[in-house]
Amino acid sequence: MLNKYPLWKNLLIIFIVLVAALYALPNIYGEDPAVQVSANRNATIDTSTMDRVKSSLENVGIQAKSIALEEEQLLVRLNSDDEQLKARETILDSLGDNYIVALNLAPATPEWLKSVGAQPMKLGLDLRGGVHFLMEIDMDEAVRKIVDGMKDTIRTELREERIRYSAVRVDDTTVEVELRTDEAYAEAASYLDGRYQGYNLVEDEENRLLQLQMSDQKLAETRDYAVSQNITIMRNRVNELGVAEPVIQRQGSNRIVVELPGVQDTARAKEILGATATLEFRMVDSENDIRDAQNGRVPFGSELMPMRDGPQQLLKEDVILTGDHIVNAGVGYDEYNRPQVNITLDGAGGNKMSMATKDNVGQPMATVFIEYKATDERDEKGNLQFTKNAEVINVATIQSRLGSSFRITGVGANEAQNLALLLRAGALIAPIQIVEERTVGPSLGQQNIDSGTQAIFWGFVLVLAFMVVYYKKFGLVANCALAANLILIIGVMSMIPGATLTLPGMAGIVLTVGMAVDANVLIFERIREEIKAKRSPQQAIHHGYDSALSTIADANVTTLIAALILFAIGNGPIKGFAITLAIGIITSMFTAIVGTRAIVNSVWGGKKLSKLPI
């Protein structure tokens, strides 16, 4: 019974702990307040941008700690929090609209650590401050829009083919075409058959009815598209907000998670992220008298619509153009310094606009702002119900034939800003609603970090003290293992890219500290039993470790099961708890079994002993 580990084994253990320590190291360096500049549309970032930023900062007397160009982004580190806001404004002013300038906290990891890929742990929103949104997409609306578009296409094409129909209507996911004559029916059937991908044709000769049903595959595609389009748009909108390191992810079939670390003005963030808005341009019906319409005699092909801050308007039903043709929109000022929204359309949109306005110069055109608001009600399938709110926000006289670039005037400064932002981000095919929000202010985040760290520290100290008192020198050995365990947890957490530290995660670390000694307690109790059974010290050590092993493994596997299930079902903070718990269980097995054995072996192994200090 020698109880000696070979040299390579000892070296391997030391090596593992050292590597973990190296990767845990960045966590003690803290963070610099920083401003992150990235390019938006067309713009590029290079050394000349860097010089411009540098000189503009120097002009206002801000001395940056460093300015670095990394992965097409410019990271400006500053010396104090006070300078951060000012620096952001200065840089925004000097670079202009084509750049996104975001506040950030950049880890102050030294170069030599960065060169081996060491990074501090990512902090969850509850520690860092920020906003977490869970958004739900209205899938029914997404599908409805596609089917509606299909209906219009069929109408136009049948008209062009001179096939006479009595009605084309939408029923759920089906477009129904009713024909007047058998002849037209046959013509239409052969024309429509196999013409549109993703639609199945169902013929009903008796009623002269043709049904184009959206296939399941097309339905799935549409839904997928709605989600991915929303994600893209969210990303654009988040960019507009100027947030560093945002998270935008799909969750489940119809939800999107948006996490914005460090955002403080949540009201604005919500307004921009949550609202779904699109524009429609329509002609005002000036041939008919609006008073007739208000008395219930709405002329065919026109409809009444409310106007924001103004009287009702009578508009033509035909839509000249919808928001999805908008390429760009920005705020500008006219010669009287009044705000206006400059709009650029794509080619098709420009053509449509040009066609429609050609004969209508001097006529009023209305801009209709359509917003989808959730009603908090749900249908039987549990999907959110949305109401469509359409209102005229502007009526302007067409001054000349419009092309792919024109402007809307007569909007307030703030409204112009928001409208331009939303238009720029694009029009959503499906409305979206925030179903969960968690916002943590920065001071609470810091407070959470402080209390978490304190709890870990004192929990650690108490356990260390107890172990020394109860197990003497063997207690010291267990304490070394516990310290190594803490380093390993932090090191591993820093190495795994997806792992985030949250407040429950810190609780998980505290709990692991308490439970990690369990393996050592099991081993030490076994050794004591062996000593009581009058075995020699060396045999006691050997048998103690051996017989405790399977118990430790069983006990930890079951806890690991609980941790994994927590990870699978939990949301952000709970996942954080599960991660630290799982990592803690695995690392504690290593340090408590292999780590302590190495120390015990090198201190007491291979000698003739009469007694063990346990």
Binding site: E136, T266, A267, K270, D376, E377, R378, E436, E437, R438, T439, V440, G441, S443, L444, Q447, N448, S451, G452, A455, W458, G459, F460, L462, V463, Y470, K472, L503, P504, A507, V510, L511, V513, G514, M515, V517, D518, V521, E525, R528, E529, I531, T551, D554, A555, N556, T558, I561, A562, A563, I565, L566, A568, I569, G570, N571, P573, I574, F577, I614
Partner: protein, 315 residues
């Protein structure tokens, strides 16, 4: 050698198993009764609604806050101190017809207008009613999955009688902890659910150690009766059980006192769960296993059959 329990004797644990069993049954029944009458005080995560934590510069005047909110039409708001005198927590039920995610900001604005001091937004949480329902569903599912997975693992590693005993102990711990939250009316949120799963993890850890020892003792001492065997195993593991519980309780106490108000419910659930878990791993698991008639024969290692052992060797 310093020991919590100094003994070489077997302690007669099982002599009290009747009375302990009765106490446990009474507690479980009381918990279930309270759960069905008082229900659980579900937190925002499960009920949906809006929650706001704001910090004032001076100690907050709760009544003035309430009147201010009442004036703005938030009469149903629950206002209370949170952690310190300067911090208050405002809770609102889910509302119909209002753009719910806007509520938090609205309240903050009206508070800022009413009090002429900086009102700091510390935390806003909004959970839609359906999301809350989903959390309850997911949580219940997670708990069940955890119990079943652990049952399967223990049944595979040990024997079904011990597995049933272990799971009975787990269910006992979970029900009692839920009962405590129901009787005291403590808020049950997602972190408490996480704590409950951690209690399952901890309690099973304890129970496995005890079961392991029971099995070992059965194999080692052929002459002992099942009750004597269980007593012996429990005595042998007692100091380990107590030491581990003690260290865990130590760290949980630091979490309870230093971890901040957000982690309070979590620490409470775990503290209680660990105490109950320690007791149940001693009494419940073993008593149930004995009641099902666990014996030495059930726990002897099965002989591994060699493949082809029953065939004649090739000539």
């Amino acid at each position: 050698m310093q020991e919590i329990i100094k003994t070489n004797e077997r302690l007669p644990f099982m002599r009290f198993r009747g009375i302990m069993g009765i106490i446990s049954i009474i507690l479980v029944v009381a918990s279930i009764a309270s759960l069905s009458v008082n229900k659980l005080n579900f937190g925002l995560d499960f009920t949906g609604g809006t929650l706001l934590e704001v910090g004032f510069e001076k100690p907050a005047e709760l009544n003035r806050v309430r009147t201010a909110l009442d004036d703005k039409g938030f009469g149903d708001a629950v206002v209370q101190n949170y952690g310190t005198q300067e911090d208050i927590l405002i809770r609102l039920e889910p509302r119909e017809g209002v753009k719910a995610e806007q509520l938090g900001t609205d309240i903050l604005d009206s508070l800022r207008a009413e009090f002429e001091q900086t009102v700091e937004m510390r935390r806003i949480e909004f959970v839609g009613p359906n999301v809350g329902d989903e959390f309850i569903e997911q949580g219940g599912l997670a708990m069940l999955t955890a119990l079943i997975c652990i049952l399967l693992y223990i049944a595979m590693r040990f024997e079904w009688r011990l597995a049933v005993g272990a799971v009975a102990a787990l269910a006992h711990d979970v029900i009692l902890t839920l009962g405590l939250f129901s009787i005291l009316g403590l808020e049950f949120d997602l972190t408490v659910l996480a704590a409950l799963l951690a209690v399952i993890g901890y309690s099973i850890n304890d129970t496995v150690v005890v079961c392991d020892r029971i099995r070992e003792t059965f194999r080692k001492y052929a002459k002992l009766t099942p009750i004597q065997t269980v007593n012996r195993a429990l005595t042998d593991t007692l100091s380990r059980t107590l030491v581990t519980s003690l260290t865990t309780i130590l760290v949980l106490l630091t979490l309870f006192f230093l971890g901040g108000p957000l982690i309070h419910g979590f620490a409470t659930a775990l503290l209680f769960g660990v105490v109950i878990g320690t007791y149940s791993s001693i009494y419940i698991a073993s008593t149930v296993a004995l009641a099902f008639g666990v014996s030495r024969d059930d726990l002897m290692p099965t002989e591994v059959e060699k493949e082809g052992a029953d065939q004649d060797p090739l000539p």
